[in-house]
Subunit: 681 residues, 2 copies
Amino acid sequence: MRIRLIASAALLFASHAVAQPQHGLNLMPMPTSVEHGVGRLAVDQSFSVAIAGFKDARLERGIDRFIADLSRQTGMFLKQKPVDSPTPTLLIHAVYGRDRVQSLSEDESYELVISESGAKLTPPSPLGVLHGLQTFLQLVETTTNGFAVPVVTIKDRPRFPWRGLLIDVGRHFIPLDVLKRNLDGMAAVKMNVLHWHLYDNEGFRVESKRFPRLQEVGSDGLYYTQAEIREFVAYAHDRGIRVVPEFEMPGHSRSLLVGYPELASAPGPYKVEPGGADAVMDPTRQETYKFIDKLIEEMARLFPDDYFHIGGDEVNGSQWDANSKIQAFIHSHGMKSNQDLQAYFNQRLQKILSKHHKIMMGWDEVMHPDLPKSVVVQSWRGQQSLAIAAQQGYSSLLSFGYYLDLMWLASRHYAVDPMSGAAASLNPEEKSRILGGEACMWSEWVTPENIDSRIWPRNAAIAERLWSSPEVQDLGSMYARLDKLSRRLEWLGLTHRSFMAPAFYRMAGTNDIFALRTLAEVVEPVKDYTRMNSLKTVWDFRGPMNRLVDIARPESDQARRLRDAVQTYIGSGYKDKAAEGEIRTRLAAWRDNDARLHPLLEQSFLLNELAPLSEDLSTLAAAGLLALEYLDKSTPSPSSWRAQQLALVERAKTPKADLLLMVVEPVQQLIERSEGQPQKP
Amino acid sequence: MRIRLIASAALLFASHAVAQPQHGLNLMPMPTSVEHGVGRLAVDQSFSVAIAGFKDARLERGIDRFIADLSRQTGMFLKQKPVDSPTPTLLIHAVYGRDRVQSLSEDESYELVISESGAKLTPPSPLGVLHGLQTFLQLVETTTNGFAVPVVTIKDRPRFPWRGLLIDVGRHFIPLDVLKRNLDGMAAVKMNVLHWHLYDNEGFRVESKRFPRLQEVGSDGLYYTQAEIREFVAYAHDRGIRVVPEFEMPGHSRSLLVGYPELASAPGPYKVEPGGADAVMDPTRQETYKFIDKLIEEMARLFPDDYFHIGGDEVNGSQWDANSKIQAFIHSHGMKSNQDLQAYFNQRLQKILSKHHKIMMGWDEVMHPDLPKSVVVQSWRGQQSLAIAAQQGYSSLLSFGYYLDLMWLASRHYAVDPMSGAAASLNPEEKSRILGGEACMWSEWVTPENIDSRIWPRNAAIAERLWSSPEVQDLGSMYARLDKLSRRLEWLGLTHRSFMAPAFYRMAGTNDIFALRTLAEVVEPVKDYTRMNSLKTVWDFRGPMNRLVDIARPESDQARRLRDAVQTYIGSGYKDKAAEGEIRTRLAAWRDNDARLHPLLEQSFLLNELAPLSEDLSTLAAAGLLALEYLDKSTPSPSSWRAQQLALVERAKTPKADLLLMVVEPVQQLIERSEGQPQKP
């Protein structure tokens, strides 16, 4: 699932206007309804949990985890196990149990009532218990008297039943411990599907006992054993997360064909190394379906979920065009195109999946009049195709707008709503076919080291979009809560914040990384497919990933804060002294940073490329400070000075070392405003 | 192993004088010999390892780990496996294999020769391979052209064969993943023994199949299963680390007696909860030895190491005194004291251990004329007892001076040499009985969250003392290398640095933790047993561990840097402008910190107690700045002002919130010096 086109930005501007309840609680995703009371319930060492109603080992494990999480979060040693008490701090009462295999239709709602004397969590099902416990954890505050949760009544249920995260382990292998901590993060924001993109051209990551050459020659030795997968799926299930496997066919499957070249549409041989052919399976041969049948039989047992993703995107027709037997097949079967051939392939695939009790899923290219409507369509190409799928009767999911690898800001993902755009004009029945969406973490530029930082915290904004009411839109509130959440996620072992210091240390080769960090905090990796497109020849992702572009966060908090302060300052007619002071402090630090960073830049091959960027930062900051002087004194800046500075601004807009300097735009505003005719924004 | 007495500081001042080779390499522990060449060997993506000579699965796993570590350290995707090439980047040639059970006498030496065209690691045994690979990792530098290692010839072997770290999992349970990352840290500094203090009064942490009540009622449910222990011991063995279990007898064993009170010297019942009796086993009953025999038989199989520690320290005689049957036994057997009874117990214990092919170890109280010389004595009470043990013919180990829980500075541990003090006057044969030493991490104030920060980086200074030549003494070099090492350890997953931010966030309940961090960086927890002694009634360690004293690092780098700068400034006759500038910058930031921190302090029950400390810091910093003014202008400060400031200094010396403000002493120096008669230091 990969595209070279730049996604259209047209649909993706944020909507700021819609109001929402401002209850001041740091909850993410925002619950359906929150009724605020007065007072607090203390959370101290006497904290206890009791279970009434339904109870099983899985529920008990969930509660054990909750107690451990609460212990970690508060630094208190709490009672390890639920107690048998009529007056526990938290009483949990679920009505019925869970299916052996978590289903799409399972009730996830819960009600959490907190009074000064105790809390009650009463969901119908254990899934609601898990969600309610996450809400409880987010409610715990550090107060003047101790830890506490506010008196509150929360009723909550998800807007969409399918709230997923795709992780691609094909391009770069991601070890299970890294995936597990990300499952913990998903559970914290109430996401319920891990879409496991298990292989791609670059590597096959699942052990097959039936076809061992899949992992043996189709990978670099890095894959998951079946025992590991079983344990991982159980880990996810414990956390209320379904695992939907993706087995890409007929394209994106070079690694599968390395060991079984006879299934390909051209002779081979194939290698997992980059630069090889963009191989496609041959849908005209019986052997292909025999192989797929056996593979799916084996994998259907390994992955208990009802759904099974077969990819189906970006099929490169060149191998089919070049194969006369395949072309003859197309004609003899009355097909008009390669698309028809793929539809034929998908139909047969669907029957195989159905035989093994699986519901087929595919990317939006699989849509075809011949395909049964039971197939679930995942839209990556646009909101248009999502609407079409729903119109045609397919259940569908949105991923367009949720690609984490494109390095968009959280606000941009947040503005993408599965029901907006083309879907807005669907009728209710059509709308009901839209199941939700999935964030996608494609791993071309992702390693076990930086993956957490690519997923978090931005993924939480998508999780909120898929869980909360569409009216929840306020960006100020979203960022405030995201910031809190981001820190909370560290208690789960996620390294999206902590991974940076060791990486800076590697880059600098010295302990004084202050100036490097300062620069790193105001840059962002280039967006969309700019970095991919800059690859000169073949797409090869095996190179080192130790440059600042691999470490810098997709979204600069510092730049956002500068933007906000500049907005406030301009909005106040240059009178807001607090905002001015904040701008001044930031700009002064950046102005002086290059002098501090420069000696480092010269010592390290990894920092060398940052010299122009560091210079730009200091130059711009100095210009911004001068502009501020003019504005402060209400003296118009000389136009020649402005022209000169704006030329610098333009220069600073060019990406350098695959990085964007994110303070350019607010500084530009200051310079432009210093012309001396204060305008209302 | 615990003491209420303040350890004598007499032996423990640092020796600064001894010279050492200054080759400028960031190696820790310092190798035996380093011959510096010219040039470098590049470490890039073509990096490869080949194995000649001896080869087995364990060695190959070690090399796989090395490649993974090097990949992580450099951010490069390196070849996963050793290659079959005559010209690899690194050729490893071991002569012979390892024993199934790692022995004390195994050769750990290695030779590492790096030229511009390749590196050769030629140790006799795989243990040397592991050590040499760690040295190689430490040699990798970030240069202007890429990663590289310098051309160098290193010959290295340890000074002592026993270089251990004790971790107490009795007081607070430490999960295996935390222990494992600490094993990785130990391997990085070439330590080779984990002394696993498996239980204490507060909890029994090993599963016994024979006596399941040990873990079932003797713990809070937190213990290691036998399968986990086997896997853990294998993990350690892979890293060249022996695991020596400690089963405390006859004292410090309340948790053992909870399930088996019939073994105690008083009727019981016993509980793991604090406040219970300081129970001691009854050495006069046959049943006691039958139980021990069976338990040791079971545990001897679980822990393959030759050595088995039986504790034997701090036996509280009160239960024996109060038991007339025991007193009668003492008299009827011609014993003179409880000590004699314990010696009798130890003799019988030793026979049981011997039957199960184990060498007995015990704390220094076990020494007694009746005890065979095969027993290994571990000195915790002083260097005197180490010398006595060696004189009497016992093999012995030093732990006195290496207690990490006492919150000493690294320099203070570093100054403790097993061969110094009383041991200095031993004859060569006696000296040869001193096997080495062990750092001790007692866990009264330790949790899975903060344990890494209590062990690292200080433990590395002890590791160097036990590995390197006694001439390696320079504190400047030690701290420079320790600082580098501390950052490298993060690549192994140790959280001694990264755990602080989430903890500050918990304390503050807000994202702006800058001022809190500033304060935290200049304080240290109170030393020795001050915190323990401040416990009013019983020793209860189950309370929350979320105060700053639980988070602040045992050694303040910021305070050390201020001390160094003040030393330099005074030493220069107040002329060194760089030092003066550094002092000024630090003091100015601290002076302004209280204003910034104050609003936070009022919002959180965890920060409240820090108000006086924060005030002291700002007041002192302001005084220091004024003193600096006087010194800078060569104007004597008014004596009334000085008196006033020195009164503040005295006030600031009192611990607050169990914390010491570590900048007091250098500020005091500045104030005193501002009297105006510059003295040579």
